[in-house]
């Protein structure tokens, strides 16, 4: 049986393969052709991007680092940072409620997440913006009783507060799901082992479960952060001049510069999200410790290894 299988195997190499023992790789003309066509199209697009006068690259350079644009950028970063922290805090709280034994806390948390994942951010922001009409004063006091301290809503709710509140409320709903999924992703055996050792509840969560959950929470949350960064562009609806709002405003004043101004915003957003992505890579690497036997090389290490290989190949080629 085995013999016949071996005999029917396709032409076994007889004798030494080639003159120098090298196997020539299969040529793939289709791959080259596809690559070529795509390269031509890309070069055409790039050519258009650079030479088309409508892009007004000079105006782009003029606007790119104007103080007014940088102020907008600062607002974007501020709003993102505040909402990220507040959203995460709210998300952890909601996730804990959702995972708790109490049916009431569980349903409250579920309802919150359902509500805020169902409504577009713009609508939430518009609601909050018009909140002054709904609740002219906010008070602290006994529930259903008299209020001790009252705030005038219109004074309290500056544009940035409305923006951060809206973003944080929505972000908390998403963060809750991220945290919950992370906690659930921790192997049940870990809960059991910790319980079998008699570790106290708080210790178990803080030292055993949560650090392991972070491994899946952090990458998802950083992804979430990129979304948040982009979502801040919506705050111009509540008349806060972030990066996008500023650009939009300037475009109103200088209608001829609409396109270069949009490009300014685009490039800044690309830069910011790319920075977050780079951070994400290193953070993920950090949390992989203990979970993998070896960690993946950084791009820098990979580039260095690639160069070395190339050099060796080059030397071999030229030596012949």
């Amino acid at each position: 049986m085995t013999e016949s299988l071996l005999l029917s195997a396709p032409a076994r190499p007889s004798g030494p393969p080639g003159p120098d023992g090298r196997v020539l790789p299969l040529r793939r003309p289709g791959r080259w052709a596809a690559g070529f066509v795509v390269l031509v199209l890309v070069s055409q697009a790039a050519h258009g991007l650079i030479t088309n006068p409508f892009y007004q690259w000079a105006r782009f350079a003029y606007w790119f680092a104007r103080p007014v644009v940088l102020d907008g950028l600062l607002i974007t970063l501020q709003v993102t940072a505040y909402s990220a922290v507040l959203g995460l805090a709210g998300g952890v709280l909601l996730a804990l409620c959702r995972l708790s034994g109490s049916p009431v806390l569980r349903s409250v948390s579920w309802t919150y997440v359902w509500l805020f994942r169902s409504v577009p951010l713009i609508v939430v922001l518009l609601f909050l913006y018009n909140l002054g009409a709904l609740y002219p004063t906010l008070g602290i006091g006994i529930p259903f009783g008299p209020a001790f301290l009252t705030f005038d809503e219109s004074r309290l709710a500056t544009d940035i507060v409305v923006a951060v509140a809206g973003l944080s409320l929505c972000e908390a709903a998403y963060a809750a799901e991220v945290v919950r999924a992370g906690v659930l992703s921790v192997d049940q055996g870990q809960h059991e082992a910790a319980a079998a050792l008699g570790l106290p509840r708080r210790y178990r969560f803080a030292r055993i479960v949560f650090p392991q959950a972070l491994r899946s929470i952090v990458p998802s949350y950083v992804n979430q952060l990129i979304g948040l960064l982009k979502a801040t562009s919506l705050v111009f609806y509540v008349s806060l001049l972030d990066l996008f709002g500023t650009v939009q405003n300037l475009a109103g004043t200088y209608p001829g510069d609409v396109v270069p101004l949009l490009l300014v915003a685009t490039v800044w957003y690309v830069v910011l999200t790319s920075l977050v992505s780079v951070a994400q890579f290193y953070v993920e690497r950090y949390y992989a410790r203990g979970a993998l036997r070896t960690v993946a090389p950084t791009p820098l290490q990979r580039a260095r290894a690639g160069l070395r290989d190339l050099r060796i190949r080059f030397r071999k080629e030229t030596a012949r």
């Binding site: 059991e192 319980a195 050792l197 008699g198 570790l199 030292r207 650090p211 979970a291």
Partner: protein, 263 residues
């Protein structure tokens, strides 16, 4: 119910199981199991897979809550306290304190992957407030040396072989200085050539006089270390006695069937 000789002494039995029933959904897993384990003895629980062995072991330290009946360890009821003629469920912190006096070794080790071996072993004594950080680490080093891993204290669990991980898990259970240690198929997840190193650690514990309850499929090992063999079938104890009798002259047809299959 048979008990081995030493139990007649004044010391309370190490483990007592009183009429434990347990359901999973509509399925009855334990059906009125009662069992007594004398201090300083080794009890091996045998049975086909699905016979309720692991569940029984997990009931012993209250990882599974029995629907009826209860368990005492060292004379103290686990997970409940007596009030008149009723049993009242304990608060979680009290149950945790009880568990920290019972060692448990899992089939899949369940070491904490994000902690070093040293921290894995030292975590529980520190967290339960029994030892200072310093003392716990000294103890952990000592225990890791005892299981043959004294030179790997800084490594992470995933960097070890299965056999090494299971030895760390045993050291972790020992760190609480438990009165009884429960083993849930400690060698089932291991490659055959790694089984020996784990069994030899357990053998050392057995000869050292620690009370052990072991669920295992290693019949040869059971014959060697056990003082008492318990055979479980469909959630009931059908046969019980010293290995020489249960393994060589089984009385119950189910036991005979099982042994003829595995031997």
């Amino acid at each position: 119910m048979t008990t081995t000789g030493i139990a007649a002494a004044a010391r309370p039995p190490a483990v007592e199981v009183h009429g434990v029933h347990k359901w999973f959904g509509g399925r009855r897993v334990l059906d009125g199991v009662s069992l007594t384990v004398a201090p300083g003895t080794v009890t091996v629980i045998l049975g086909r897979s699905g016979s309720g062995k692991s569940t029984l072991l997990r009931v012993l330290n209250h990882l599974e809550k029995p629907e009826a009946g209860h368990v005492s360890i060292g004379g103290e009821p686990i997970g409940v306290r007596r009030q008149g003629n009723r049993l009242r469920e304990l608060r979680e912190s009290a149950i945790l304190a009880q568990r920290s006096r019972i060692g448990f070794v899992f089939q899949n080790f369940n070491l904490f992957p994000h902690l070093t071996l040293l921290d894995n072993v030292a975590a529980a004594p520190v967290a339960t407030g029994r030892l200072s950080r310093q003392q716990a680490q000294t103890l952990a080093r000592e225990l890791l040396t005892r299981v043959g891993l004294g030179d790997r204290t800084g490594a992470y669990p995933r960097q070890l072989s299965g056999g090494q991980q299971q030895r760390v898990a045993i050291a972790r259970a020992l760190a609480l200085r438990p009165g009884v240690i429960l083993f849930d198929e400690p060698t089932s997840a291991l490659d055959p050539e790694l089984v020996g190193e784990v069994l030899s650690v357990i053998r050392d514990l057995a000869t050292g006089g620690t009370t052990l309850v072991i669920v295992t499929h290693e019949i040869g090992f059971a014959r060697e270390v056990a003082d008492e063999i318990v055979f479980l079938h469909e959630g009931r104890i059908v046969e019980q006695g010293p290995p020489a009798r249960v393994l060589d002259r089984p009385e119950h047809p189910r036991t005979r069937e099982f042994l003829s299959r595995v031997l």
